[in-house]
Amino acid sequence: GAGVSQSPSNKVTEKGKDVELRCDPISGHTALYWYRQSLGQGLEFLIYFQGNSAPDKSGLPSDRFSAERTGGSVSTLTIQRTQQEDSAVYLCASSLTPRDQPGELFFGEGSRLTVL
């Protein structure tokens, strides 16, 4: 597609439920990132994919959070047993090989998660 696409745009769930957030990166972008943006906070790095592997998952806050990427394209971020503190906007970004374009990430519009 022309840009990074994320779905759903908004998700309201009850505490304890599992949620899946989807990211469809720009075609040809090998690198994919998940960030979390909480109210009044900056962007918190969660995980980085190069192709289908995740060499850096250091930002995942707990084992309730997991992510996968298949076919070097679509990625899914899964949050199990959601808690109210998980409420945030989850942003996905993609880029060409980091060596080619240092720091130039293309972001989606994010998925706003609200946990009641």
């Binding site: 900056g42 962007l43 130039e104 989606g108």
Partner: protein
């Protein structure tokens, strides 16, 4: 660990005037990259400008320019001839490059443009 600090949570500027957003960072690396990203109400982050640390010349992109002070670890963004469309949250970000493009962001500055 690298950190990025934006000490101005909110700023306001009159249309057509100039405004400067501040950013400081901390790193022990000698080669790295600094960025300003803009996040309008639509939430989609857009790269505004990039600075390579090894370049002494300050980056410029049309009405946007930076003042990069490597020794002081300061990286401010100047917006000239401010327009209503410049109203957004602005994030300063750092990357050491390397094998990933992982960006470390500041907490942002919300810029309002008054007509």
């Amino acid at each position: 660990a690298q950190t990025v600090t934006q000490s101005q949570p909110e700023m306001s500027v009159q249309e057509a005037e100039t405004v400067t957003l501040s950013c400081t960072y901390d790193t022990s690396e000698s080669d790295y990259y600094l960025f300003w990203y803009k996040q309008p109400p639509s939430r989609q982050m857009i790269l505004v400008i990039r600075q390579e640390a090894y370049k002494q010349q300050n980056a410029t992109e049309n009405r946007f320019s930076v003042n990069f002070q490597k020794a002081a670890k300061s990286f401010s963004l100047k917006i000239s001839d401010s327009q209503l469309g410049d109203a957004a949250m602005y994030f300063c970000a750092y990357s050491y490059g390397g094998a990933t493009n992982k960006l470390i962001f500041g907490t942002g500055t919300l810029l309002a443009v008054q007509p």
